[in-house]
């Protein structure tokens, strides 16, 4: 198979047939399950069949794709065609959060939730124009490889690895939690067992075949997840509007929602906590009026998610696997297309779910709610019931603010809301599992490759034989996977909010150095290392400081009023979640409010005209610099990293001629790459 990129490879040539056959097989399987259901086979058995068969197929692909070749293990032999790499990237990208959580966030936040839709798609524009073709031309194995070759060796490589590990580890833990939640719900096992079932599913895909196995399973997983996402949406649209075109028809659902919301308000009702009362209205506060903080937060989140997309190594490394620079560019476009198919359907789910709930449930006697509501009134791993009916005014009638639904239920319960048979619920579970497994695979591989290739091979033992390198990769993959599963099993769903941090951390740590490495020839080694370090430390430090030390944070950046408000907020939190020290500190502030002065950096906290404040989130008082939620922490780190790299480059030794030749080579698709340091060559 040497020179595989040039001659027509029989495996690549028959990919279309293989995956068409696979899609047909999956459809036939769904039909068989549907028939079995009609014949009276219990739901639980059907659930086992769905999960068992899909994981079995992924395992089979993982096993037949096993490999002993380094280039196959790290970059799938660089022969993944643009279209298939696009599908693989799509499922690598779309996690449990996209599949299960996105529609629910849109249900709760209305227009505000569209920041996720925009942020998680637009970043691919940056990937395509700024990075992917050049990283592919550079053509080694990992993102830290590029940093090492461009910025003079191990210092840059090590900083890149640290950022990569921080961002990817929290992300992979969240995926394993997602696998656990789905497995627990549909197989009816405990969360701890579910996590390890999921872990086995992840490992069989990636352990033996590395990137090669992960690529071909991810394509298979994409097909399952997109079918599973679209079918219920089409059926729901047919039920509510009579036309099975959810993406076109939900405009009418949006109109109906606005009417219902106005009706509820006229009747003196308020929306439930966390749900907007004006579904389609942009940038509003709780009172429905324009709110500048809502607007700033919306755009800051869009920015951080986009830049983070373009800096997450498990995504960038997918573009190392295409046969050419040209295909790398096309592949980004295909990736975005396949992601788009799911993301432009998610708001339809949210709108149809909301119409159905508002129309048929609100105002009904609580005793006569439909069965699907009752079946979801069970405890979720988040510590509240999935659907929580709280009869606030005890009149036995369901009011607007008395129906509290966990965001994840919007997708998971759609089949039951629409009155569809269990086979569709099983399909949704299989899709959610495919989404979580594929992302976890990609992340674990990025983590294990950084440790085995970048740390062990490039930094510790340059003479390690191929066989040993691959053994070490697999052992590290196993260790990282078990560590992630252990963390997931212990921390549970409490850590899901950390996922959004991964974007800000990757954005602030890596994006500037990668982009300037290609686009600004004068970027020096020192500048890149300092820039990555500053971006990473500033952002990560800011996130931790504002999240866990919110009172301290506001005492530094906040005005006198903000500090007093924060101290009052401490008292509103359930005492089980606050430490005695924090309560004592807050009490001391409130006991002598006259003595409180503005924070030392309050001038900086108010520099853009929006004051720094705190909000109660996740049972903590969380600081917000300039009123921006820390989910968008990268908004400061990204520009600072760019500025640092540019400034330090001005004052340090310019790159050598050999380095400039190297940059010239990666900018042009044709020809080889003249490395500044020959020892960086791949083999």
């Amino acid at each position: 198979m040497s020179g595989a990129t040039k001659e027509k490879d029989p495996f690549i040539a028959s990919l279309g047939k293989i995956y068409a056959g696979y899609t047909g097989g999956f459809a036939a399987f769904v039909v068989i399950i549907a028939i079995l259901e009609q014949m009276g086979v219990p739901d639980r058995i059907l659930g086992y069949m769905f999960v068992g068969l899909t994981i079995g197929v992924y395992a089979y692909i993982g096993i037949i794709s096993r490999t002993q070749a380094v280039a196959e293990y790290y970059v799938a032999g660089r022969r993944v065609p643009a279209l298939y790499n696009g599908m693989a990237t799509g499922s690598d990208w779309m996690s449990a959060a996209s599949f299960i959580g996105m529609a629910g966030s849109l249900y709760a936040l209305g227009y505000g939730g569209l920041a996720f839709i925009l942020g998680w798609t637009g970043g691919y524009m940056l990937v395509a124009i700024l990075l992917a073709p050049y990283l592919r031309k550079f053509g080694q194995y990992t993102v830290p490889d590029f940093l090492g070759a461009r910025f003079g060796g191990n210092a840059a490589r090590l900083i890149g690895v640290i950022v990569l590990i921080t961002a990817s580890f929290v992300y992979v833990v969240a995926q394993i939690v997602g696998v656990g939640i789905i497995t627990q719900r549909f197989l009816d096992v405990s969360f701890g067992v579910a996590v390890f079932v999921g872990l086995a599913g992840i490992l069989v895909c990636s352990m033996l075949g590395g990137m090669r196995a992960v690529t071909w399973t991810q394509v298979a997983q994409y097909i399952v997840l997109i079918i599973a996402y679209l079918i219920p949406a089409f059926l729901m649209s047919a039920k509510i509007t009579g036309v099975p075109m959810p993406q076109l028809m939900y405009g009418f659902a949006l109109e109906r929602i606005a009417e219902l919301e106005n009706g509820f308000r006229a009747a003196g009702m308020t929306p439930p906590p966390g749900v907007t009362g004006w579904h389609s209205a942009p940038f509003i506060g709780a009172n429905g009026q324009f709110n500048i903080q809502a607007a700033v937060n919306f755009f800051a989140l869009v920015f951080c998610l986009m830049v983070g997309t373009a800096a997450l190594p498990h995504i960038l490394m997918r573009y190392f696997t295409t046969p050419s620079v040209k295909e790398a560019r096309q592949s980004v476009a295909w990736s975005l297309f396949f992601i788009f198919l799911l993301y432009f359907t998610a708001p339809a789910y949210a709108a149809f779910g909301k119409v159905e709930i508002y129309q048929t449930l609100i105002g009904q006697p609580i005793a006569s709610l439909p069965d699907w509501v009752k079946s979801w009134q069970i405890m979720s791993p988040y510590g509240v019931p999935w659907i929580n009916i709280v009869d606030v005014n005890r009149d036995g009638i369901l009011q607007w603010n008395e129906f509290r639904i966990h965001p994840d239920v919007v997708v998971l319960a759609t089949p039951e809301i629409a009155g569809l048979p269990y086979v569709i619920a099983g399909l949704v579970a299989a899709g959610g599992l495919a989404a979580a497994l594929s992302t976890a695979d990609g992340l674990l591989l990025a983590l294990a490759n950084a440790l085995s290739h970048d740390i062990y091979y490039k930094m510790i033992d340059r003479n390690a034989p191929t066989a040993r390198r691959l053994v070490i990769s697999r052992v590290l993959l196993l260790i990282v996977a078990v560590a992630a599963a252990w963390t997931a099993g212990n921390a549970g769903a409490d850590i899901l909010f950390l996922v959004a941090w991964a974007f800000s951390i990757a954005a602030a740590g890596l994006f500037a150095a990668l982009v300037m490495g290609v686009w600004y020839k004068k970027t020096t080694n020192t500048a890149a290392c300092v820039g990555m370090g500053v971006g990473y430390v500033l952002t990560f430090g800011y996130l931790i400081h504002s999240e866990w030390f919110g009172l301290d944070f506001v005492q530094l950046f906040g005005s006198k009023d903000a500090i007093i408000a924060a101290a009052r907020q401490v008292g509103t939190i359930n005492q089980n979640f606050t430490s005695p020290e924090l309560r004592a500190e807050a009490a001391a502030i409130l006991a002598n409010t006259a003595a409180v002065t503005d924070g030392a950096l309050a001038w900086f906290g108010g520099i853009i005209g929006i004051p720094t404040d705190t909000v109660v989130l996740r049972n903590r008082v969380v600081g917000r610099l300039w009123g921006i939620n820390n989910i968008s922490g990268g908004i400061i780190g990204v520009p600072v990293a760019f500025l640092t790299i540019w400034l330090v480059s001005k004052f340090t030794t310019p790159p050598s001629q050999a380095m400039q030749d190297f940059i010239d080579d990666i900018r042009i698709p044709k020809g080889g790459v003249r490395l500044a340091d020959k020892r960086d060559a791949v083999e």
Partner: protein, 101 residues
């Protein structure tokens, strides 16, 4: 499937693939295209949504236009722009003769 190392690893040639003048002109044109697509990205990621509150007064098939742009409109522009970018960049590659062999 017997597997050995793929032969596609970049070789360390000493001479540049194209002469410096061509490389410079190529990069200027590539940069222009990058900035053009970057501006499209910026406009449809941020600028258009600043006007979402006023756009919402226009309704098409029930969709308030401001909501529609963030939920679908911008996404469609992103997808189309990326396919167009791939095509345009290939044309530039061929114009300067720097496409892969």
């Amino acid at each position: 499937m017997p597997l050995v190392e793929s032969g596609s690893a970049p070789s360390n040639t000493e001479a540049p693939a194209v002469d410096p003048a061509t490389a410079k002109a190529y990069w200027a044109k590539t940069s222009n295209l990058m900035w053009l697509v970057f501006c499209i990205w910026f406009f449809f990621s941020f600028v258009v949504h600043i006007f979402a509150p006023s756009l919402n007064s226009i309704k098409i098939l029930g969709f308030p236009l401001g909501f529609y742009m963030a939920a679908q409109g911008s996404l469609i522009v992103f997808v189309v722009a990326l396919f167009w970018f791939g095509k345009r960049q290939n044309e530039i590659d061929e114009e300067f003769g720097v496409q892969e062999d």
